[in-house]
Amino acid sequence: MPTHFTNGVSDVIPGNPLYDFGRLDPTKYHIFWDDFDTTPVAAQWTLTATSAGTGTSAITVPDVDGGVARITTAANEDDGIFAEWISETFLLETGKETWMKSRFSLGDATQSDFVIGLHSSDTTPLDATMRFAWITEDGSAALFFNSDNNTTDSDSSTVVTLADDTYVTVAVHWDGVSSIKCYANNALVTTMTSITIPGAELSVGFGYLNGAAGAETTDIDYIFVAKERE
């Protein structure tokens, strides 16, 4: 039986304009949340696709419970698609904690390049000037977290070894000082220390490229990013 707070709940101090507001203050965090119940469209995302082989690389939202952004690739190596939010809306900062969480399943865990998280605007996010994102590179099924501030490029150890067509949930927590905790399937795996975060605004982005010939299907269940506002 749940506890019922019939008068509401509050997380603000007396004198705050939302003091009598019966819900938690939604302005405390800048939150990006996409459960992919709707297709990432060109009006909100910059989509960079490559379809040199048979077929067309695209993102759709199929009839799947939970909402999924499904990347289908054309059939050549290096065919695929990247999606980045149309504006760079997240600036990582000292003194402000940030969380990211995502769930996805890659068509080919080894023969693929994949990125998801935050990066500076770029049609090839794997080479973006700045990154704060999970990456797996062609030829390896190891997923690691990468923080690149355009001066220092730091990779975590392997956070999880991916398997084909198998969902994994990953998360990171930037502590607002110098550490990034990396989680896989809701368990802490490793902590990156002495990190200097990217110093400019970043876009939310994700994308998958084939590492070998053959069309693939990759599903992104959700992306969550939250940063303290004050």
Binding site: A42, T46, A49, T50, A52, S57, S121, D122, T123
Partner: protein, 73 residues
Amino acid sequence: MLYQLIKDGAKWAIEVSGGPQEKSIKKTFSSREDAEAWRRAISHGDEEAPVLKPISSKSTEKKVVKKKKAKKD
């Protein structure tokens, strides 16, 4: 905006499309490298992003009228 790199015969092309009410454009290049460099320059702000023209409702109406006249003839 969607930038779709495709093979266009012996050349390469990038099809740029936006919303359903915008006309898509296609820009061709002699090599894949040139096409990717153009796309990348846009994302870095070194090249102006193409502006897609709206599909005007007027032009659609005109086409309908023209078709009707043709039938009478």
